[in-house]
Subunit: 262 residues, 2 copies
């Protein structure tokens, strides 16, 4: 059962400063916990995550007995719905809560993979948690393994991002770093694409099999400091009158064009 202290500790993980101090984040609800059990320790599982602890209802435990048994080292306990609701952010939760430990990935190891891995996404100051969660899911759909974010981008362990990512968070490695230094490493190695308002029509621009795709927020676009590092500015052609597309929609269209072409 969840003690008062445990409830307090888990509630604390709704705040970024506590997640960073503890090195833990929180996932909750049936759908994402089922994805967690299915993904943990498989080859898809982000190598720097470890399940810390799991509190689940009897109902969820009996429904997922086989997966729980398969994860032999997993520490789990039963909990009642009322405590799960108190500890988490959901209005109802008849499944459970897990806390996940995240270790700092090795930036140098991750960056070595970029030149072999197809397209890698780079997000500049995306503030909306729903958009980030949707982009993580998109990356997972299209087989993109890594996502690099500017320090000002919303924290990927924010409960709203976790919810919107629907389990794809467990399969896509996400790192925060200074984007100028990061992009500069790849200049003249692999092409750096960016979504901008007045660039080349993505329908008529062939894209390379390996590359970086930089996305800014809908309201501010890509930071002007980063533009000199961009090799190919890309634009989604507009046929009507809408002023802009949101960042997740634009990302979807650009990734799909890349996949279609390579």
């Amino acid at each position: 059962m969840l003690s008062k202290n445990q409830i307090k500790k888990i509630r604390g993980l709704q705040l970024k400063k506590n997640r960073q101090a503890e090195g833990l984040f929180l996932v909750e609800g049936a759908k994402i916990l089922e994805e967690l059990l299915a993904t943990a320790n498989t080859e898809d599982w982000v190598g720097t995550y470890q399940i810390d602890k799991l509190w689940i209802t009897e109902q969820f435990a009996s429904k997922n007995k086989r997966q729980l048994d398969a994860l032999s080292t997993l520490a789990w306990e039963l909990a009642d719905e009322q405590s799960l609701i108190q500890a988490g952010t959901l209005q109802s939760n008849n499944a459970g809560i897990a806390t996940i430990r995240f270790l700092k990935p090795s930036l140098s190891k991750s960056t070595q993979l970029i030149e072999k891995e197809g397209l890698t996404l780079v997000l500049d100051d995306l503030k909306d948690p729903g958009n980030l969660g949707t982009i993580i899911r998109l990356a997972d759909w299209y087989g993109i393994k890594q996502l690099f974010c500017s320090p000002e981008t919303v924290d990927c362990f924010n409960p709203k991002v976790v919810a919107a990512s629907m389990g794809s968070l467990f399969r896509v490695q996400i790192q925060y770093c200074d984007l100028s230094n990061f992009l500069a490493q790849y200049k003249n190695k692999i092409p750096i694409y960016a979504a901008v308002l007045k660039g080349q029509n993505v329908h008529h621009t062939p894209m390379a099999a390996q590359g970086l795709l930089l996305i800014g927020s809908e309201s501010h676009g890509v930071n002007p400091d980063l533009l000199p590092l961009v090799d190919v500015p890309l634009t989604i052609p507009r046929f009507g009158k809408a002023e802009s597309l949101n960042a997740a929609i634009a990302t979807a269209i650009l990734i799909d064009n890349w996949r279609k072409g390579v």
Copy 2:
């Protein structure tokens, strides 16, 4: 100034039954009001909408004086922020509120246009207001003029849909009708495409210049009763492990593939 009765009447428009009884919907905030003033009475303006009344702050009135003067028949009044917040759904509103009268479009007139107009979107039971608003914006971006929705689809005049559509609502005609009867009219005339889980790969399927694209919800997909009417089931190819894509993201990718091909 907004009277207590007016505030009450506008507040009532947050509910669908009142919108339908009054034939009015509500728009609020600077961005969408500026789009309203820029679009009203232009050739893009949905022909069945009329601005009923506008309450705006002095600040918004002076910033948009030219557009207000240009709409000579427009009835507008000054209002203070406090009343605007009381009447509307926004937590802050230093711009204004408008009520818009919507007349029932002629279904027969609209359907005549479909065979000439490129792609037309057909939405089956989409419940999420953010998704519908995003799809209206997408339609507007790609120059799609009409959207047909099943009666169970969220109301397009719901304040959250209006906000997410960001003014594109004024340029895209939206109608609700029984989709079986609606689609049956086009059988063997123009192709009926649908987004499904196991269809033809959209990257390798040429699409016709004129057609209908049917989209279901992420969780339920297209209603099985409608599938016999579909000519070409389309699927976005998956390269990774995410289980599904949300309806707005899938719509974006399919429309973009259509536009790229024709």
